[in-house]
Each structure stands twice: as structure tokens, then as C-alpha cells.
């Protein structure tokens, strides 16, 4: 039995729906109902055993259960219990409020297998309210053009939309075609996103003053050329570093991430105080060094199939 296997496996436990965790072609799959729905949407008719948060089952004498990770809709940590020993696999997680998914739940454990995507002390994500305010201010200052926001189609896009709504922005929000089904799926899971309009095929004049959400790959693409004087924004934790934003030709960087930042990663370690920590994808070296400085036993776990650096 594998967790988030990068190749088709007979039996797979899947933490969440992002493509580098949820691959297609597995035999049996266990995941939260939301994650199964996302996989079904992405890969067609894939079957699996739904595991609502808190539910579990037993296999080979190991008790397996799913707990909220706060990363995206349906994202879960997986708890493995055997002979009194508890192992948590966080998958991707964050500790902040997110209107589109259940909040992270701290689960006591002996071994913590943690992500470290933003495992460098330079990564501290600012409160999202300030970033949303920046976006709205840029729109106000550019009513003759539009703002196009690069955001991942699963999770980030819906979170940005939901946060715009929370900030009182109730005008229609324009979305790239690649996001429509996922937005519908969120709405069907009681995440209201308000009035969304497909941005494809509209006249430039119609989109003046609009906020447009598109996958990052569409930003520098011909698709974006049909927008009226767009300012290119990007919602990502990588935007914290100026040159990363510049390399992507981003004019309005929004530091919005669905991953734990450095403080969340280290605070979680201090809160759970596992006897041992395994660090998976991301900056394993820096978080490992921090553990050493805090006398926490840790080791890096190399995973295949994950980008070693920037989000792709």
C-alpha cells in the first residue's frame, strides 16, 4: 500500500487532488470524498473508497485514518497507527484560515512526515487580507484595463475568488476555461464563489475593470493578449522573492500560498514535538538544519517525481 505514489500502484492512499500527489491509473484508491470527486473530474471515472475526515480502516494490522490538512478542498493528512506507534503523513498543508476547505487539525504523533515546500526562513506569507487589498487597489487604479491573476486551477483559484468575496467584491469574476469545472465542483461542495463568467470569446470592452483568474501557464500566452491592457498578477508563495516574480514577468506579485510557510512549519514541529521527523519534498536541508538547532531528530526523505525547487 502506497501513499501518493508517483507511478500506478495496486493500492494507493491519496492525500489530495493535486497532480503530483494524485496520479491516475491506480488499482484501489482511498481518499476523502472531495479528493475522489476531484480525481474523477480530472481522470474520468476513477473509483475509490471515500474516507471522510476522521474515518479510517485497517489493513495489515495498521489502522489508517484521514484528517484535515487545510491545503485545498478535500486535502488530508494520513495517520498510520500500529502497535501503539503513530505516524502522520501531512501531505501538503497550511495552518491559516481558508474559506474553501476544512482547517488543519494537529494530530499527536510519534513520527511526523512533513512537507517543506517553503522550508526556508525567507518564506513568511503575509496575511491574505493585505494581498487581496493590493489586488483590489490595482484594479481600482486600472479601470480601463484589467488584472489577470495567475492561480492554480485547483485550490488557489477558488481561494482567491472566495477571499475577494469575503472582502466585499461582488462584481462578476472572469475565469479561464480550464477552471470552470473545478469551480463548479467547489460550488457543489458548498463553497460559494459568486458570479463567475467565462473569459473566453468576450469583447475587450466588456472586460474593462475586470479581475480575471487564469492558470499561470496562460499568463504569457496568446490567450492573455485578448484581454484589455492586462496587468499580470500571480498568486503564489514564490512571489515573496522579487527575482522569482520578475523571472515570470509578474507585475503584481501576490504572496498567497496554500502551503505552510517557514513559521507554520516550525511552529507545527514545536507543537507536535514528534520523536522523529521525516522531511519530504521542498527544502529538506534547511528544515533539517532547523530541527538540528532545536534538538529534534529529523532526516530527509528523497521522493521521486517531485520538482526539487520551484512549482512547475
Amino acid at each position: 500500500m502506497w501513499i501518493d505514489p508517483s507511478r500506478p500502484a495496486e493500492r494507493a492512499l491519496v492525500t489530495h487532488g493535486h497532480a503530483d500527489h494524485a496520479r491516475s491509473g491506480h488499482g484501489a484508491v482511498w481518499a476523502t470524498p472531495e479528493t475522489l470527486a476531484i480525481m474523477a473530474l480530472r481522470y474520468g471515472t476513477e473509483m475509490g473508497t471515500p474516507m471522510p475526515y476522521g474515518d479510517g480502516f485497517e489493513a495489515n494490522g495498521v489502522k489508517i485514518s484521514f484528517h484535515p490538512a487545510g491545503h485545498v478542498l478535500g486535502s488530508a493528512q494520513i495517520l498510520l497507527e500500529h502497535a501503539g506507534e503513530r505516524v502522520i503523513v501531512t501531505g501538503d498543508y497550511k495552518r491559516r484560515f481558508d474559506p474553501t476547505c476544512a482547517p488543519f487539525e494537529a494530530v499527536a504523533c510519534d513520527v511526523l512526515i512533513t512537507e517543506a515546500t517553503f522550508g526556508l526562513p525567507v518564506f513568511t506569507h503575509p496575511p491574505i487580507a493585505g494581498e487581496i487589498a493590493k489586488l483590489l487597489a490595482a484594479r481600482e487604479a486600472n479601470l480601463d484595463g484589467c488584472i489577470v491573476v495567475g492561480a492554480y486551477a485547483l485550490g488557489k483559484a477558488q481561494r482567491v475568488i472566495a477571499e475577494l468575496r469575503r472582502a466585499g467584491y461582488d462584481a462578476p469574476i472572469y475565469i479561464h476555461g480550464a477552471m470552470q469545472k473545478m469551480c463548479d465542483l467547489y460550488a457543489a461542495h458548498d463553497v460559494p464563489l459568486g458570479d463567475l463568467i467565462l473569459a473566453t470569446g468576450l469583447a475587450k470592452a466588456e472586460m474593462k475593470g475586470a479581475i480575471v483568474i487564469a492558470p499561470p501557464s496562460a499568463l504569457n500566452d496568446r490567450w492573455a493578449q485578448r484581454l484589455p491592457d492586462p496587468i499580470t498578477a500571480m498568486a503564489s508563495g514564490w512571489m515573496r522573492v522579487r527575482q522569482r516574480a520578475r523571472q515570470r514577468n509578474v507585475e503584481l506579485p501576490l504572496v498567497i500560498s496554500d502551503h505552510a510557510d517557514w513559521n507554520e512549519l516550525t511552529d507545527t514541529l514545536l507543537e507536535l514535538r514528534p520523536t522523529e521527523t521525516w522531511i519530504t519534498h521542498g527544502r529538506t536541508d534547511a528544515l533539517g538544519r532547523w530541527c538540528e538547532l532545536h534538538q529534534l531528530k529529523a532526516r530527509a526523505l528523497d521522493l521521486v517525481g517531485r520538482e526539487d525547487e520551484d512549482e512547475s
Binding site: 522579487r242 520578475r246 523571472q247 514577468n249 534547511a286
Partner: protein, 522 residues
């Protein structure tokens, strides 16, 4: 400080030049003195705070943060100031953010020992963007894609004055440019530097691509391989300036002492020697004298410098720049005749019958180790900057060699996530590779991506930030010259190497040998 840090971030993320000019112009109009003057100096690269050096910032960081975590972060971010700004904790105190002039006054009057402490206190009063702007301001080197010229253009735009008028008096002004802003706002006349020895902008040349000029209209001179220098003297005071207007008088005191004329001249600083056509030493010799604050008598004796004069801008107080090159040349010859011949001579006019004859003479210039030929319109005035159609530089073709990539390192700034700095080598007779140079330019963005991938996929060892790669990739390297060097194990070093082509088709063992490179020493 908030307005300044917003300006800095705006400049970083804005791609359009025009938009950048607008951002700066708005800031200069809306910000009071003296903040805007300091900001203008920071953008134009004329601000220097002697008490804060980047080493001080590194040590401040290493004191506060675990050195290993700091190094990993610095390696990722690619910029020390930004790394420190991002790692610095947000201090929740409601302290008011400092103003730009408060920062400058505090740091400028502090002792070198106390400055880092003051800097840390200022950091505590700012958010991450403010801290970044503060560190950039304190260390100089804003790296926001703004040239001094663009900053002056923005000043011109803000107040509706011509950038050439700004340029003309710029180097005589004192920070924080109160007189300049007073003139811009129409409160006073343009500052008049009258009686001081200051820098006037150089006239520069365009490369002659594949054109042809008529020697009836153009005069030809050799392009000497030294450093371009301007000498300005009021009689009482003599100062030397390099290309960018930086004062270099202290590095070449014997030149300043020997200059007995009054006026402003333009020339090439060279070391006596027998390399360049038997008339001057190589650029390498001059390098021994560059960047030194104090020169010993022994240095002066070992590397005797002189100036080969190209042009005259002022004779006494008379401005000759609007006159033709021919008229200025006549004045220069008369002017130079009264100078010490040990330290000054005239750049000779090449006696070529016609352009073809000149081409033939230029082709022979490599053996003479001369960089190339300058072509100047006989009727051209002396104008600041690069003006089309007046002056051309006609460099000889670069040398090339096929080398093998050995090591790679990440770049900094815009390239901080890419392995963009490459060390390459050539073969010894016993079949080992020895490094002969390092290059980080000449390739396209697409090639950079490919090279970065190559480095990541072919790493055989890591030494801190340096990766050693499989010795399989041949790089065609172009360079201006090659000379003896004791610093390199191979015994040779290249001048201005850059990658001219990726030779993915060529097996590494067919790359050039050290001996082949040695044969190119001019």
C-alpha cells in the same frame, strides 16, 4: 521610507521603460527635499554611505541568524540584502517608519563600528519591503534596472527640462541636489559650476556593423586598449575621471601632477610597453594599477602610465564642443605640444588611402594587439553619449576557442535560480582539462534554460554553491585577447570571454588544447 520602498518595488516589477520613467518622475515631484534628492542619488548610483558596506550586512545577518540557514537562504534568493530583509522578523512595535533623509543622516554621521547597530534599529521600524529598500539604500547598488541616464531622464520629465541640460552640470552638483530641484521647480537659474574641475559626459561610438564609410568624411584612429579617461583642470585643481564619471585621480597621481594645461581633454590611459603595436603594454598591465587607493613609487615605476589624447572639450574656459572634430583636433595638437611628452602624446591619425586600405591595415592589427579602429566624422561636434552617424568603433573580430564546461554556479539577481556562470577548460598534452576562463553571457534565454538543465542533469560533485559537471559539453568561447596569468593553473587568462555557441555536436575530446590557446597570446 514607504514612498521610496513603493517606488523601488514599482521599478522592480515594471517592464516598460516609459512606465519606469513615469514612476520616478511622480516620486520626484511629490516628495519633499531632501528625501527626493537622496532617492535620485540612490537611483543614479551617486549615493555612497561610507559606514555601511555589504560585508557589514552579512556579518549583521550571521550574528542574528544561524549561518547555515542564512547561507542556504542567500543561495536561493540570490541577493544578500533581500535575504536579510526577508529573514528579519517583523517587530510589532508601532514605531514610525524612518524617512529617507533620517536614514542617511543617521548612517552618515555614525562611526563604522556603530553603523550596523543603527541599521538594525532602523530595520526594526520597517516592514519587509521597507527593510529591502533600506538595505539597498545603505549599500548603494539598487539593481532596479535603472541607469543613471534614466534617472536623469525622469528628472527632466518631472520638471520639463532637457536631460542634456541636467547631464551637463550633473557631475558638479552636490548631494542631495537641492539646487537641481530648485532649478527644476523654476525657483532659481540652472546651477553654474563655473570654477571647479568636474566631469563632462563622454562622446561614445556605435559599433560599425557591416558598413563602409568614406574617408573623405571620416578620420581613422587606432582604438587603444586601455581605459578611456577625461582630465579636467582649472589650473588650481586637476581631476581624472573614468568612463562613468568616477574620479580616479588618486590611482594615477603622476598623470594629474604632470598635466599643466587648463581645460578638459579626452584620451586613453595606457601603460608603456611593447605590446600594442610596440607602443603600449597590454590591458593586463594596466589592470595592476586599477582600483588602487594608494599607489607606491614602485608601482609607478613598474607600470609607467601615460595618456594618449583623443580630443579636447575645453581649452581654458572656452567650450569647444560645438566645433567640428577638425577644428578641435587643431586646438588639441597645439594644446598637447605644451604638455610633458613622458606622460602625454597624441593619438595618431591613420594614413589610409581609402576604406579598403584601412580594412587591410585593421586586419594586421591583431598581430599588433590593437583592439581595432575608431572612425570619427570630421565635422562632428563633441556630443554626450552615443549619437548615430558620428563616431564608430570598428573592432577586430574576436578570437574563438572550443572549451569544455567543467563547473557551473548559480547567477545572481534575475538569474539566481539558474546555473548561469560557467567555468570551462582546455586540454593539456597528458589529456587533463585545466580551467582557462569563466563566462556568464553570450547565450539566449532559451539556451540558458537548456544549459541549466544540462548542469542539473550532469552534476558529478558539489562544492558549496558550485557544481562540477560531466566533462562532455563543448562551448565555443569568444574573447578579445588571451594573456599570461599566474593566477590560473593553466597559466593563461582570457580577456572578456563570452559563450558564442553551444557545440552540442562536438565530442569533448576534440576541444582545443592549452597550447593552441597559448599560440594566440598577442
Amino acid at each position: 521610507m514607504q514612498a521610496f520602498s513603493a517606488l523601488i518595488d514599482g521599478l522592480i516589477y515594471t517592464r516598460s521603460r516609459d512606465q519606469k520613467v513615469r514612476l520616478i518622475a511622480d516620486y520626484l515631484r511629490d516628495t519633499p527635499d531632501p528625501d527626493r534628492g537622496w532617492a535620485l542619488a540612490a537611483l543614479a548610483g551617486t549615493l555612497s554611505i561610507a559606514t555601511v558596506k555589504s560585508a557589514a550586512i552579512r556579518s549583521m545577518a550571521e550574528e542574528r541568524f544561524d549561518p547555515m540557514l542564512f547561507r542556504m537562504s542567500r543561495d536561493y534568493v540570490g541577493d544578500t540584502a533581500e535575504t536579510v530583509a526577508l529573514m528579519w522578523p517583523d517587530v510589532k512595535a508601532d514605531a514610525a517608519a524612518p524617512t529617507v533623509s533620517e536614514v542617511i543622516d543617521l548612517l552618515n554621521t555614525a562611526s563604522r563600528a556603530r553603523a550596523p547597530l543603527l541599521l538594525a534599529e532602523l530595520m526594526d521600524r520597517l516592514d519587509a519591503n521597507g527593510r529591502y529598500a533600506l538595505l539597498k539604500l545603505a549599500t548603494g547598488g539598487m539593481r532596479v534596472g535603472i541607469s543613471a541616464r534614466l534617472a536623469k531622464t525622469a528628472f527632466g520629465r518631472a520638471f520639463g527640462v532637457s536631460v542634456d541640460d541636467v547631464e551637463e552640470v550633473w557631475h558638479a552638483l552636490r548631494l542631495p541636489y537641492a539646487e537641481l530641484f530648485a532649478w527644476g521647480e523654476g525657483k532659481s537659474a540652472r546651477p553654474d559650476p563655473a570654477d571647479s574641475a568636474f566631469f563632462r559626459p563622454f562622446m561614445l561610438a556605435h559599433p560599425l556593423e557591416d558598413g563602409n564609410v568614406d574617408l573623405e568624411d571620416f578620420v581613422a584612429e587606432w582604438k587603444w586598449d586601455g581605459i578611456r579617461i577625461q582630465i579636467a583642470s582649472t589650473g588650481g585643481e586637476t581631476r581624472l575621471f573614468s568612463r562613468g564619471g568616477d574620479e580616479v585621480t588618486a590611482a594615477f597621481p603622476e598623470i594629474a601632477a604632470a598635466f599643466t594645461g587648463i581645460g578638459v581633454v579626452d584620451g586613453e590611459l595606457l601603460v608603456r610597453g611593447d605590446v600594442q603595436g610596440g607602443e603600449a603594454a597590454s590591458f593586463n598591465a594596466l589592470q595592476q594599477r586599477l582600483g588602487r587607493k594608494n599607489v607606491t613609487a614602485a608601482m609607478q615605476a613598474e607600470y609607467p602610465v601615460f595618456v594618449r589624447l583623443y580630443d579636447i572639450l575645453f581649452d581654458g574656459t572656452q567650450d569647444l564642443r560645438s566645433q567640428s572634430w577638425s577644428a578641435r583636433r587643431e586646438r588639441l595638437e597645439y594644446f598637447a605640444a605644451r604638455l610633458d611628452t613622458v606622460r602625454f602624446d597624441l593619438s595618431a591619425i591613420i594614413a589610409a588611402r581609402d576604406f579598403d586600405h584601412l580594412a587591410e591595415m585593421r586586419a594586421g592589427a591583431r598581430e599588433a594587439a590593437i583592439e581595432g579602429v575608431m572612425l570619427k566624422r570630421r565635422d562632428s561636434p563633441y556630443l554626450a553619449g552615443r549619437k548615430v552617424g558620428l563616431w564608430y568603433k570598428w573592432k577586430r573580430e574576436p578570437l574563438v576557442a572550443d572549451c569544455v564546461m567543467m563547473y557551473a554556479q548559480r547567477g545572481s539577481g534575475k538569474r539566481s535560480s539558474f546555473y548561469s556562470d560557467y567555468t570551462f577548460g582546455c586540454w593539456t598534452p597528458d589529456g587533463t582539462l585545466l580551467p582557462v576562463g569563466k563566462a556568464y553571457s553570450g547565450f539566449s534565454d532559451a539556451e540558458l534554460k537548456w544549459l541549466d538543465r544540462f548542469v542539473r542533469d550532469n552534476t558529478v560533485a558539489r562544492f558549496g554553491p558550485v557544481r562540477e559537471v560531466e566533462k562532455s559539453l563543448v562551448l565555443e568561447v569568444a574573447f578579445d585577447a588571451v594573456h599570461e596569468s599566474k593566477r590560473h593553473k593553466s597559466g593563461i587568462a582570457m580577456r572578456f570571454p563570452r559563450i558564442s555557441r553551444l557545440r552540442r555536436d562536438k565530442p569533448a575530446d576534440e576541444a582545443d588544447t592549452i597550447a593552441a590557446l597559448r599560440a594566440m597570446i598577442g
